[in-house]
Each structure stands twice: as C-alpha cells, then as structure tokens.
C-alpha cells in the first residue's frame, strides 16, 4: 500500500516536471506576433479585446488610465471588468 502511494506520488512529480520542462522550452508567442504588430504599429497590451468600458485595458498607449480604478482602497483596482479580475494589472503611464 505504501509502495503504491509512493509510486503514485513519484508519477505525479514526474508529470509535473515534464509539464514545466515542456512549457519552459516551448515558444509561446504566436507565430504571427511580429507580423501583426509591425503591420498595425503595435496595438494591444492588456486583457481587453475591444475599447468598450476601458480603453486603457485594451492598450494604455491610447488612454491615460482606467476610469474605473478606485485607487488604493481594498479591491479598488479590481472594479474595472476589463482587467482580468485584476490579475493582469498595470499602473498608469508616468506623467511627462
């Protein structure tokens, strides 16, 4: 029983290691990344796919900041639905 459990644990560890190793060597950038961005001049940066609600969430180059950012109150930066549940959160551009 203990041997089976140990073997199961080792198998899980090997599986996890294989996944991490595979992902480490895989090129995860889309094949057409350079083509696309050179064509449109670099467009897109955040987790939003259109400009509705939050232009900043699509590309901060197009707007100053998120209109829904409620600042440092707990969860204040999470209010905007275009920030991937605030998992992908980036700050405003610096003032010139």
């Amino acid at each position: 029983m203990a041997t089976r459990q140990t073997a199961f644990l080792i198998a899980l560890l090997l599986m996890a290691g294989a996944i991490l190793a595979t992902e480490a060597v895989a090129d995860r950038l889309p094949a057409q990344a350079e083509q696309f961005h050179r064509l449109v001049g670099g467009l897109g940066f955040g987790p939003a796919l259109d400009l509705s609600d939050c232009v900043f969430g699509f590309d901060p180059r197009l707007d100053d900041g998120c209109a829904y950012d409620r600042g440092p109150i707990p969860g204040g930066a999470c209010v905007c639905p275009r920030h991937a549940g605030s998992i992908f959160y980036y700050v405003k551009t610096l003032d010139p």
């Binding site: 992902e23 950038l29 969860g75 959160y89």
Partner: protein
C-alpha cells in the same frame, strides 16, 4: 493515510489551486504578448493632450514631427470603437496607410486594403465568426457620415487565428476609410514615430519641449504626449508579488475551501485518528514522531494536490484552450475562444501553489495530531 480524508483534502486543494494556476498562466502569457506588442511596435507613440485628457492630433502635426531631428518617419493612425450588427458587437477599427506594409501581411488570409480603394477591410477571427464574415463578404453601413454618406464595406482579408489575441475584434482598413467611418477628416488618434537608432530619447524630449498643435477650431492648443517603449515596459507587472489582485479575487474561494479542508482534516475522522495515534503511542511512538508523521502526510497530500492541479491547468489551457475560463480573465472572449489563448506555465506559481496547499493542510493536520498525541494512550484507544 485515511483514504476518504486524503481524497477530500486533495480535491479541496485542487479546487483552490487550479483557478490560481490558470489565472497566473494567463497573466504570464498575456505579459509575453504585451512585451511583443511593445517590441515590434513603433519607437514612439505621439498622442494629443487637452485639458489633461487624451485627444486626437491634427494632421498638421505629422509635418512638425517629421521635421524633428532624428525622426525617420511619422505615420498617422486612427483607432476607434465601432458597434456592429443587431447583436451590437464591439469592434476596434484601425485605419492607417497599409499600402507600405505588404511585407507584414503574412498574418492575414486574403489581402490588405489596396492603396487607392476605399471601403475595404480586414477583420479579426472573432468578428468573422460572430458576424458570419469571410473574404468577399460585405458589411452593411454601421456608421453615420452626413457629408459623404454611408457605404458598404467589403472584407478583403481575415487575420489568421495564430496572430496575437487583439486581432480577434479588430477591423483594419485604410486611413481614409477610417476617417470617413468616424467622420473625422483632418485628425488622427496617434502618430507612429520611427527614429534613427539611438535617437529615441532625443526625439522624445524634442517633441515634448518644442512642439504644440492647434485644435480644429483654431482656438485651443493641443500638447503632445509621447509614450516610449521604456514607459510601457515599466508598466508591465513584474513578479508574482505585484499580482495582489489574484488574492483579492481568490481569497474568498480559498478561505471557503480551506475551512472545509480544515474541518475534514481536524474534525471529521477525529475519533479514528485519535485511536490510531493512541495505538502508535502505546507501541512506543513519541509525540514528536507522531507530529513528524503528520508533517510527512501533509507534505504528500499537498504535493499531490499541487501536481494534480498543475496537470489539470495545463490540460485546460493547452488542450481545452481555456474553455469556459478564458472569458473570465480576457474581456470579450466567448466560452470557446476564437484564437489560441496565450499562457505560460512557470515554476514559481506552481511552487507558491504548493506552499499555500502545504500551509493549509499542515495547519489542520498538526492541530488534530497534537490534540490526540497529548492524550494518554489508554484514553485515546477507548
């Protein structure tokens, strides 16, 4: 190890860790795509500022910017939002001079809008699927232009699915067509500036300090705002400690499930556990040895939970393409995404997930083991 208790613990751990790993993988994949957007985009992006807000630039700005020493070229671009169809699908319309860009058309099935023709567009995969568009399709007028009227737009190309995710709701057309759609002649939302090597900072300073533009009504002044590559790269979240939002989002879920795990590991099956520990003590085991056993047990459980969660996360993103969950993290994505979801599974989030799991399980295990271990064996066995 108690089978039912172990199974419940591992399932609870997977339920907590899986969305965390998926979210982190998506965030890191998005970060890589954002870096590519910065790397392959223009050297500088110039927009206008009026009343502290971003505003379009007059086309006269192009000549002024091109005259700055160190500037190789300045291309006007229009980026705006349109709404299509009876389902009110939001799309991003981009207009720029694409006739100089055939070298970069490999990301399109079909062709780019031609230099001298108007009303030709390239659409993204998401739009093509939702609106039933293909090469040769025609879009009925979706905009209003009182001076030039509304015309049909013809689809001449569709972005390839393996282009970056922002192509999904994109419509690419010529600068003239975009100006007609938005009824904004003589203006651009931004200028894409290319600089001579090593001159970006100089050009940046020169534009900010020396240039200003007149607004369309001739009364106001529009100041330039310049965004450089360095500005954008600084904005990217760096490291897991910056993602405090993850815990804002998930801590409720984690707390709820963690309570369940603690109840299972510390309360349910306690009688059996006490008896088991009593027998161990009667056969000579010391309290510290029993606690060490609990530690090893917790380690095995949390390692199993973390590994299983990692495997499921990989399957979900690689094979399932983020089915059902991508839309939660990427606004505008359907349950079945139209493009390969960007993700990167890296060791650090997996390690953090294991540590989180270990802390949760260990807390429940040690408490119950300690309570049972300090009781006299005769009492525990009864």
């Amino acid at each position: 190890m108690h089978p039912l208790r172990s199974l419940v613990s591992v399932c609870a751990l997977v339920a907590v860790i899986l969305p965390y790993l998926v979210g982190m993988a998506l965030a890191q994949g998005l970060e890589a795509e954002a870096e590519a957007s910065v790397q392959f985009g223009a050297d500088l992006l110039v927009t206008g500022v009026q009343f502290g807000r971003t505003v379009p630039l007059p086309l006269e700005a192009i000549k002024q910017v091109r005259a700055v020493d160190g500037v190789k070229g300045a291309l006007p671009r229009i980026v705006g939002e349109v709404v299509l169809g009876k389902d009110r699908v939001h799309a991003v319309l981009v207009g720029l001079a694409v006739e100089d860009a055939p070298a970069w058309s490999a990301c399109i099935d079909g062709e780019l809008p031609k230099r001298d023709s108007r009303y030709e567009i390239v659409v993204g995969t998401g739009l093509a699927r939702r609106l039933g568009l293909k090469i040769g399709s025609v879009l009925p007028p979706f905009y209003r232009n009182d001076k030039e009227g509304e015309r049909l737009l013809r689809v001449v190309g569709v972005f390839k699915a393996d282009a970056p995710l922002w192509q999904a709701h994109l419509m690419l057309t010529s600068f003239d067509t975009a100006a007609i759609v938005f009824d904004q002649r003589g203006a651009a939302t931004d200028l894409l500036v290319s600089c001579q090597p090593g001159k970006q900072d100089e050009v940046h300073r020169a534009i900010l300090q020396r240039l200003s533009f007149t607004s369309a009504d001739g009364q106001g002044v529009i100041r330039p705002k310049v965004t450089t590559r360095a500005d954008l790269l600084v904005m990217l979240p760096r490291g897991v400690l910056h993602r405090e939002g993850v815990f804002n989002l998930h801590f409720v879920l984690a707390l709820v499930v963690a309570i369940l795990v603690l109840l299972v590991t510390s309360g349910v099956g306690l009688t059996e556990r006490r008896r088991e520990i009593g027998i161990l003590k009667a056969t000579g085991w010391q309290t510290d040895e029993i606690l060490l056993r609990g530690l090893a047990e917790s380690f095995a459980l949390s390692l199993s939970g973390a590994c299983i969660a990692l495997g499921l996360a990989w399957l979900w993103l690689r094979v399932g393409n983020g089915f059902g969950i991508a839309g939660f993290f990427l606004a505008g994505v359907d349950a079945v995404p139209d493009f390969p979801i960007p993700f990167r599974i890296t060791p650090v989030p997996a390690l953090l997930a294991f540590v989180l799991a270990f802390v949760i399980v260990l807390t429940g295990t040690l408490v119950s083991a300690w309570r049972a271990a300090i009781v006299a064996p005769r009492e525990a066995i009864r």
